[in-house]
Amino acid sequence: MTPTLLLPLGLAALGAVLVPLVLHLARRTEQRPTDFAALRWLRQKPRPRHRPKFDELLLLAARSLLLALVAVFLAGPALLNTQDATPVIAFAPGIDPATVARDAKARAIWLAPGFRPIDTPAPHYAVPIGSLVRQLDTQTAATAPLTLVVPATLDGADAERPRVSHHVRWHIVPGAVAASKPTPSPLRLALRTDTAHATGARYIRAAAAALELPIDSGDPAHAVPKTTTALIWLAGGPLPAAVTRWIEQGGTALVASDTVVEAGATFPTWHDETGRPLVEARAQGKGRVARLLQPLGPMAMPALVEPAFPKALAELLAPAPPPTRVEASAYRPLPGGLPPTSQSRDLRAWFALAISVAWLVERWLATRAKRAIAP
């Protein structure tokens, strides 16, 4: 643990200590004029003794201390390297810790959000293993050995093998982690179209028929049914407030190229064979808005008439969840991650407490009844 200052420039406030010093010194420097007839026997000292003298040393000390504390407070005191170097052993949920031999001194935790100790109940929900491994790697001191106990089959992995800075012991025990239940939501389509987009709407209806999905068609004035998961909005002009609200509550909407939607950072989600983007998408609230970049017609979008169009439309409106299950031996973390950032503990709260105590002491010293009248 190393004490440090996060903003050393704040120490410039230490200069304020000069103020009480001057206040306690100034009265000494003035010379009282005095008549003195026997002056001829007074000899001027070549260097008049001018040892600085301070009044009320205790009060001066309290004031100086107060200002020094304030200066250090402004400089942002902190303690560096506050992590301990005790070994860490993390168990993926679903493993009985009693079955695994482990170092008694090691800190045993669940490989779950919060990294709770092993003596708390095991989490029974699916956890993003890959993400947690990376987080644990960055939160553990660089010198602490890290052991991860995982079942043979992992759920919650992502597409990238975690890269870690520690030398991780990847201990695989038989068993499987609690699997996340895939909840394929049935695609319930709704189509709202005005007369200008009637041609394009035919392609959408055809695709829905090809996917054997019911579709709730209507003009833009029709309300969107509650069960709808995807809305295809083929109408010019801005989206009505009701539709925007529906999107923000978790709906997915595909809007026509001439529909006015809120501006924002978008990313292309569908390209044609030449690499030209056909649809760009953007998150809005909990939902998603995808916007066609071309008019909905075979001239501008040849993909409309291709046999893969219905599947592409379904993929666009309800993307399949990424695969998360992996063999543990194939998901062993790779070396080469960024080393953990040094953790620091902010000490400003303690300094604020010390400042208030010093202030109270200073006030008590300055206002007590016994204090002598300043000369």
């Binding site: 010379q31 005095t34 007074l42 000899r43 000292k45 003794r49």
Partner: protein, 299 residues
Amino acid sequence: MPETLIPADVRHRLKGLSLIARRAVGDRGIGLHASHSRGTGLEFAQYRPYEFGDEPRQIDWKLYARSDRFFVREAERESPVALWILLDASASMAQADARRAGFSRLDAGKGLVAALAELALAQGDRFAFAALRDTGLALTRPASGTRHRDRLHLDLHGLAAAGAFPGEAGLAPLWERIGQRDLVVIVSDWFDPACLDLARRLSAAGREVLGIQILTIGERDFDYDGGYRFRDPETGEEVLGDGAALRAEYLGRFGAAQASLHAALDAAGVRHAELVLDQPLDTPLQRLLGRTGNRAGGE
């Protein structure tokens, strides 16, 4: 300045004191300074009815012719000794202590002058007063009587310390007036060498001189602490310094200066005594004029 020049307790203690000019003793005869040459004096004092035993030649015959009664013409009785009280009124006398700011060295000197005048009045000696300063001496002639004393008090009340000690030319009127056998008391701080010079020359010229030195508490103890700007009231010189730092050296040098002053006064035959402002006013009078003082001859 105090309302009364002489505090009551000091006035009470004055009764034990007597002015005796040692050089005049035995010279002319009767009384403390005894000769009063009745009838032969120069200053007319009064007529009084003839009494049996008066010399007939003292009768004023012209008055007898006018009034048909015998009257005797009396001259003012004159003591052969006059007391000259010289009070230094230079600016240095205005110094007072911070401890008792209203009581300056000059105030103490005025008290001493008044007390000496009381003594002279009580024993019938003539007394005269002169304030020594370079702007004029403020002389009074030697005389006796309560009116003269009151005039002296009036002079004292109007006196303020200013200027420097008078030079030789300024002191010339004194030489014209102080008689051969007169008693001279110089009340001063004795810091100015001219003062010592005056005493020395008066003494050498046959006058009996008594010296009273008035010191402030600060001069004796140098009880200054902290930063001060010391200023000489007469020359205007200034010394900056810390009281505690200057103290040891000042006390040493001042003590040496005092010792040499005392030696010079002793050598000149000047009896002297010292009054510090925290002492009773009659301290130097007791030393010089008290029973022991008169016998032992001062310090």
